[in-house]
């Protein structure tokens, strides 16, 4: 229960920071995808089910506030959470580089699907341009931010684990 509340607060904080601190944290017109970092790092630390749940709810929030179609981003993030959740098998407490690779891959997948759904379907075919101008900068910025954010989430998760262990 405590865990659920903390996840909920994390989702809200990441969403609000990402959407309203835009003018202060954007570099080269892109901003880091905090919600994706949240989903991927929890999927990596806790496995498929947690990754899916967090992905679903954070995607749903994005859909409700910004999307035209409710459910699309919930589905994308849910799938990302599920797939990254397989990596939980090779989870190690001291490894801080592997999650960054997953975050980069997941961000690419997310952006690519975004491009397909919102731009390719409207006949905008110049993928190379969009890749260079939006996708690549965002991946770099997201990975840079996740070096700090992953550490923070990892510490929170670790503290929760210990807490639960004590209760049991």
């Amino acid at each position: 229960m405590k865990r659920a509340i903390i996840y909920f607060v994390e989702i809200i904080i990441c969403f609000v920071l990402q959407s309203s601190l835009y003018p202060f944290i954007s570099l080269a017109r892109v901003m880091p995808n905090l919600l994706l970092i949240l989903v991927v790092s929890h999927a990596y630390m806790r496995g498929r089910t947690t990754g899916m749940l967090i992905g679903f709810f954070s995607g749903l929030l994005v859909d409700i506030i910004f999307g035209n179609v409710i459910g699309l981003y919930a589905m994308i993030l849910l799938l990302i959470g599920y797939l990254v959740g397989y990596a939980h098998k090779i989870y190690s407490r001291d490894d801080f580089t592997l999650p960054l690779v997953f975050i980069a891959l997941a961000d690419f997948a997310y952006q690519f699907l975004y491009y397909v759904f919102e731009f390719l379907l409207r006949g905008k075919l110049d993928f190379i341009y969009y890749f260079r101008r939006l996708i690549l900068p965002e991946i770099i910025y997201t990975v840079a931010v996740s070096t700090v954010l992953y550490k923070l989430l990892h510490t929170i998760n670790h503290a929760l684990d210990r807490n639960e262990f004590k209760e049991d």
């Binding site: 969403f15 601190l21 506030i65 409710i70």
Partner: protein
């Protein structure tokens, strides 16, 4: 939460359940979009005060940093500006006198003062879409303050965009530089119409596409483009920007050009909303006369 996990469902089953929920949500939102309005309204109303708060904190901090760094410059500037104020206020008086005269003359000619007279409401931009692909932003006024969908948004003296969704205490505005935006424009001097179409690729250069200018239109670089009378949603005569690089299309029938908007979209923080809608075309007299509003 914990009780659920005691069922010990396989993650694969969770995935299938999640996917089914998502797909049915997508279908629902395509078919019955209007039923989701209250959901969006409630969630948005809960989130937007938080965003507003963060925004205030953020601007407070950055303002504070700015003040520290430029205190000295400011005192110097202040001195200069004070001198300027006295000069300008004198000039202003002269201009006001001229304005009164102009007003009288206009009345004589029975000219409509175009968009100066529209009722306006000021609002602050509180957040922007969470991805980098679009230029849709949220403002901190909504139906509570008399706004409605399709109201035009201005900043300074140029067009910013249009309200696409309107909720109790916030609304969403699509900027004209957005990739999905298209506005009917008109050359102020020659009355030739054109379509002002946002393009993600041109945002970096601060420009917008202008398409479908008639081949015969005698237009030159630097002409002003305003919203056209043909536009169903935009009020007539709002300045959009200045045209440049006019070229004949390869189809030899239309011309395209670039447009530099008068609004600085990079540094937009406050906007004005015209609380008057363009009158819709009504074919028949509605049954209740009071519902025309």
């Amino acid at each position: 939460m914990r009780r659920r996990s005691k069922f010990n469902l396989n993650p694969k089953h969770w995935l299938i359940i999640g996917l089914i929920i998502c797909i049915s949500l997508i279908v629902i939102s395509f078919r019955f979009n209007e039923y989701l309005y209250p959901v969006r309204n409630v969630v948005g109303s809960a989130i937007s005060p938080m965003q507003k708060g963060i925004n205030i904190v953020g601007s407070y901090i950055s303002d504070g940093l700015d003040t520290l760094s430029s205190m000295k410059e400011l005192t110097q500037e202040n001195k200069k500006l004070k001198d300027q104020v006295s000069v300008l206020s004198y000039e202003n008086k002269l201009l006001l006198q001229n304005k009164y005269e102009l007003d009288e003359l206009r009345e004589l000619y029975q000219l409509d003062q175009k968009y100066l007279d529209y009722p306006k409401v000021a609002a602050r931009i509180i957040d922007k879409d969470t991805n980098n692909w679009y230029n849709v932003f949220t403002i901190d006024k909504g139906t509570r303050d008399g706004l409605a969908v399709d109201m035009n948004v201005l900043a300074g003296n140029g067009l910013v965009g249009i309200i696409t969704e309107c909720y109790y205490n916030h609304s969403k505005v699509r900027a004209i530089i957005d990739d999905k935006s298209a506005v009917w424009g008109m050359f102020l001097k020659t009355s030739d119409t054109c379509v002002v179409q946002g393009d993600l690729k041109l945002i970096e250069e601060g420009k917008i596409h202008v398409q479908f200018i008639s081949k015969d239109a005698e237009v030159e670089d630097g002409y002003e483009i305003v919203t056209a009378h043909t536009s169903p949603k935009f009020l007539q005569g709002i300045l959009i920007g200045y045209v440049s690089d006019i070229k004949l299309d390869s189809n030899n029938m239309t011309k395209t050009a670039y447009l530099t908007p008068v609004v600085d979209f990079e540094r937009l923080s406050e906007v004005l909303i015209i609380t008057e809608l363009k009158e819709p075309l009504i074919k028949e007299l509605p049954e209740e006369a009071s519902s025309i509003e």
